[in-house]
Symmetry: C2
Subunit: 216 residues, 2 copies
DNA sequence: GAACTTGTTGACTCCGTGGTCAGGTAGTTG
DNA sequence: CAACTACCTGACCACGGAGTCAACAAGTTC
């Protein structure tokens, strides 16, 4: 029986072992960091939850900081990718609607990642200040430019693109960050699919109308 | 010289000493907790910054948790008080504009408090879940009711009061929580008075228009 | 299957942190 | 000024967490 187990389960190539373990650790770490923050998370806790000995975690990630940064770097990508899709050629009605929808979806499907990102910003972005100043800023400026072109084409009212983006970010992000608070206030244990939909719909409506975007 | 110091500076009544020290400690603690979170803040760090020995902090606050809760309890009050002003009799145009302005002001003037509150929610509100479920929820329901009456009076479009409040909260709160990110993206070292004003103006405009609130 | 690389792990060290305590000093009260 | 209370603080302790290490097991390569 033990032999069978060995041949069926344990016979893995080194490369696979590595891949699997990295994946497992990263995923557990993401959960813990989201829930308890960087300082509130211990390697032992991650180890326990991943059902691996602590030393094994340290074997794959030299330090806690390395592990955290690894988690973070995946997150920034997720966070930025949706923005790239907006172009000046699109009409803001579709573009913004689509963007808001993606953002809400992100809050729902990657709530842990979103929350880690938020927590990082909240405490002064000690670990990803550089990336903000380069990668995100570039994309931010580009997107502001897109909005400015929409304004020039009179597809929407002349409003500050920067602050508009902040508003969209924060109100969509809130469904991840403050999902718990929201559900408590609405007397639920957690947000349901419906809530995300209603939220997306409301944000879209208010933003479109608020920006004076005419229906095509 | 020393005598003079003693008689001028050090001759304080016990009651005053107590008051002053409590105040000092709470204020320093608020700063540290905002910047580094609960787990990232050490009593020694607070002590150093307050220029008091660690033991002295522990003399006034038995444990770190007690100190943190003390800081928190002040915050929830600040956070809730603005909401109370909105009533069904007011027209939403003035009421919402006023509320948004207050909220932004809060993000500016009490950014530390705001950030601690946000961080607390982000990590599941371990210390103020109870208060949310009682105090804040009561006020929340009341305010939703106010909005519902506005809708009934056709002063604004029929939209979910709950989600509208979430949207207002998050977008105003963002100026505290993500102020740093924002300033980085806009190439500043920190947000200026102008930014808060522009933000408040933009949020107000978008929300009012977005809710279909007619000008009187 | 021998030499080598990669993965695994328990025992250990080191250090920072929350919290205690005992012995002080400064204000208060009769 | 004597007795008392409130305030102050350095020395100390216990604990938990990050990270090391050495020895071993499992896969790989020829």
């Amino acid at each position: 029986m033990n032999d069978m187990k060995k041949s069926v389960i344990k016979r893995r190539k080194s490369a696979d072992i590595r891949k699997d373990n990295l994946q497992l650790i990263l995923s557990v770490a993401e959960q813990r960091f989201a829930e308890y923050g960087y300082n509130g998370t211990t390697i032992s806790a991650i180890a326990d939850q991943a059902k691996l000995p602590k030393s094994n975690i340290l074997y794959y990630f030299k330090t806690k900081e390395v592990l955290y940064k690894e988690v973070l770097s995946k997150i920034l990508k997720i966070w930025m990718v949706d923005m790239e899709e907006m172009t000046a050629e699109q009409h803001p009605k579709q573009a913004l609607r689509h963007y808001i929808l993606l953002k809400i979806k992100q809050s729902k499907d990657h709530s842990n990642a979103s929350r880690i990102f938020a927590s990082e910003l909240l405490h002064g972005a000690p670990f990803l200040r550089d990336k903000l100043q380069t990668d995100l800023k570039t994309q931010f400026i580009r997107t502001c430019q897109v909005i400015r072109e929409w304004i020039a084409k009179q597809w929407m009212n002349p409003i500050s693109p920067e602050h508009l983006l902040f508003m969209i970010w924060s109100s969509t992000q809130a469904y991840a960050d403050y999902g718990l608070q929201s559900s408590i206030l609405m007397g639920k244990t957690e947000l349901e699919d419906d809530d995300f939909e209603t939220g997306a719909e409301l944000i879209t409506q208010i933003v479109l109308k608020g920006c004076g975007i005419k229906l095509l």
